[in-house]
Symmetry: C2
Subunit: 434 residues, 2 copies
């Protein structure tokens, strides 16, 4: 590795919104520390934005609207991409690799859609592609998965990776409010965007799940491989039922390695689920993120921190920037992920899950037997049954053992058609129960 030098490493910044401006500020504030840690000073030499007039606080001579020219400029060593979304980010990233430049990105959607293609292009060019900020903001997670646990076999990665939905579900639990009311409050307070679809319908979490699964299982997984359900169907009743059985409702991103005689497969899914309040993820409230990891040798691990926001995300971007810059100073490139295992992705229908079901039933002899028969017909074994109320208001609360998801949903459909069942009042998957 070469010694300290005063020649700056020149950075092109693509995008200057919340994260971009925090990156810009930190590069300035930490100039001395960054130079010492990298061995050379860091300098932002260009900032691509769509509307320069919207960025009065940024040195105006750095601004350009021609991002494509910026990433190819000879005086640019590294590119930081914080535009987000698929295009133009994707084309710009490929252009940067072609021009021999490493890229640090916070772009979960793009990495989840085109991770293998981007990694191949970076490897071809002998440059780095790092994106710690793309999943769980400031929490150091991808580097530990990719490197620290590289000598272990991962079994499961279960995360709360979307702050907006976690805030909404936390408020529903605290106040008894329904989804619409809690969403309105989150929007008012700025925790939800004007169009909350990406968060509420689980698209954001699904992209992160794809990235986590790819790294955890050395297998290319894209957003399209992820079974996705959002939280808009979670009702105040679901949340109340969860509390009754010592659980809380969370939107989980679950990446599992499923053992199989013919060869393991991976199952990747995002959906709301009840988890016991004693589970380490249960107490992760508000806008925080946490990711729980189970590995063969390491056992249980958890990573916790702020999942979003300009400063936390910028911290992750800068960590990557230092790594990429140090690699460049050393004339090397870092460890990319490997996709060698290339495990099959198991469809949701075949993925083993557990259900919690609440039914309003007529309190007549034989109803429980008839209900139990529907579960048995699908080969679903019941873990617990609790009956509350009598007469007209009788309620059956059933928690199943693990069974293929398709068998469980077929059972629910059959229950809805039973004359003795007046209504299926709550259906949610259950995770983390022993």
């Amino acid at each position: 590795m070469s010694g300290p030098s005063s020649t700056p490493l020149r950075v092109a910044l693509l995008g200057c919104g919340t994260v971009g401006s925090a990156v810009l500020r930190l590069v300035g504030d930490q100039a001395g520390d960054l130079a010492a840690r990298i061995g050379r000073p860091v300098e932002v030499v260009g900032i691509a934005v769509r509307r320069p007039a919207h960025h009065p606080d940024v040195p105006q001579h750095l601004l350009t609207t021609d991002a494509a020219a910026l990433v190819r400029r000879d005086d640019v060593d590294l590119v930081v991409e914080v535009i987000g979304g698929i295009e133009p980010a994707r084309s710009l990233m490929y252009a940067a690799f072609e021009a021999g430049k490493s890229v640090v990105s916070a772009n979960k959607a793009l990495l989840a859609e085109d991770g293998p293609g981007l990694h191949a292009a970076a490897a071809e060019a002998g440059v780095d592609l790092y994106y710690e900020a793309a999943v769980a903001g400031a929490i150091p997670l991808l580097r530990p998965l990719r490197e620290s646990l590289a000598g272990d076999q991962l079994r499961r990665v279960v995360g709360i990776v979307n702050g907006t939905t976690n805030y909404i579900l936390s408020r529903m639990a605290e106040t008894g409010a329904g989804f619409a009311e809690a969403l309105a409050e989150a929007t008012e307070l700025g925790y939800a965007e004007a169009d909350p679809t990406a968060d509420v319908d689980g698209f954001d979490a699904a992209a992160k799940a794809a990235i986590l699964a790819s790294l955890a299982f050395h297998t290319p997984v894209s957003s399209a491989d992820v079974h996705r359900e959002g939280i808009s169907a979670v009702s105040a009743t679901d949340v109340a039922r969860a509390a009754e059985i010592g659980c809380t409702v969370k939107l989980l991103a679950i990446c599992e390695r499923v053992p199989n005689g013919a060869g393991d497969s991976v199952a990747v899914r995002v959906h709301p689920a009840m988890i016991p309040t004693t589970h380490p993820l249960a107490s992760v409230g508000g806008a925080f993120n946490a990711v729980f990891v189970e590995a063969e040798a390491a056992g249980q691990l958890m990573f916790y921190g702020q999942g979003a926001g300009g400063e936390p995300t910028a911290s992750a971007v800068l960590g990557d920037l230092v790594a990429v810059a140090r690699n460049r100073v050393a004339g090397a490139s870092g460890q990319g992920p490997t996709g060698y295992a290339d495990l099959a992705v198991r469809p949701m229908a075949e993925t083993p899950t557990r259900y919690h079901v609440s039914l309003d039933v007529a309190d007549k002899p034989g109803v429980l037997a008839a209900v139990a028969q529907e579960f048995a017909r699908q080969d679903v074994s019941i873990s617990t049954v609790r009956q509350t109320g009598r007469g007209d208001a009788a309620t059956l609360v059933i928690v199943t053992h693990s069974a293929p998801d398709a068998a469980l949903s077929a059972t629910i459909a059959a229950l809805r058609d039973m004359p003795a069942v007046r209504g299926v009042t709550s259906v949610l998957r259950v995770e983390g129960l022993s």
Copy 2:
């Protein structure tokens, strides 16, 4: 980076106790995965032990008692040191570096005593020295501190990094037992060693604190710089008093950057402290470890997992082994820590802390005024006072604001001499209270 090759990377294993044999087993079990992740297969070609007869399960032809010859052997590419302790580990590590071999170590005592010397020798030889397993076992912690947070400014690192003392304190809280009784139980169950000094007196935690502080603040910190108090003086009364104010007692390793007009300094200390039960560290029970990090931009982070045990520690060793091996395959060396900041270590006497004090006092008019006067004399400001009981059995429970530790201990000494104070029944520092 060169492509896959069938030439194995040859590993010398120094030590074959709990961790060493787990490493050996995992290298065998994960052979295919390791080869794919590294690009070359990994093979253990020699194992140095003191008494070969004690290792009947290990391939006998690999065993040697001559560790010094093993690390220099031409057919050894990498060295894994899991002997522990200062010598012969230190000499062997220097010999490995001289012979051009990278080292993966789990040796907290040695790294805490001679980190800068070892790192300098590794850098001189152009090889790697990794030791993720030395702190908090399986929890990926050092790599995140060293790399993921390299673009941020760390303020505090607070950890529960010793499982034995955490088990003992957890049991004291659960059962109301005193220290001696809880220690006896821990010994019986194998959570404490026959000679528990290293754990109970805080030496183990102090070594880990030194390593954490060095990485967090880019400043060489050795065990000798760490203020160290163990848990043997923690009484059942202390634990009960903690519960009364909504706290729990933990042995904490605390590394802080203390702002200072003339230049920041670092304060590194290990001692039992009361923390609020709502603090993320409070619920870390039994033999688990957790480390809480506060950074300027990233905000609050927590890392949680198993801190000891053969398999978890071996997982961390193997993660390092993969990193070192990949560096070797790529013909590069990895990022070492930097000591450029070289901040002064602030003595404990000058470090700001907060105290909880319980006093048995005579319930006479003027006693509280006299007690308060002793605090004021040392310029220690009081946060809360609670008086319970009346007459002979009156108790004053005082929590101070932050003040230099020396002022607090001087106050306690003065209180012990006051005629109106019949006894100082509990003194513990308090952390994490707002």
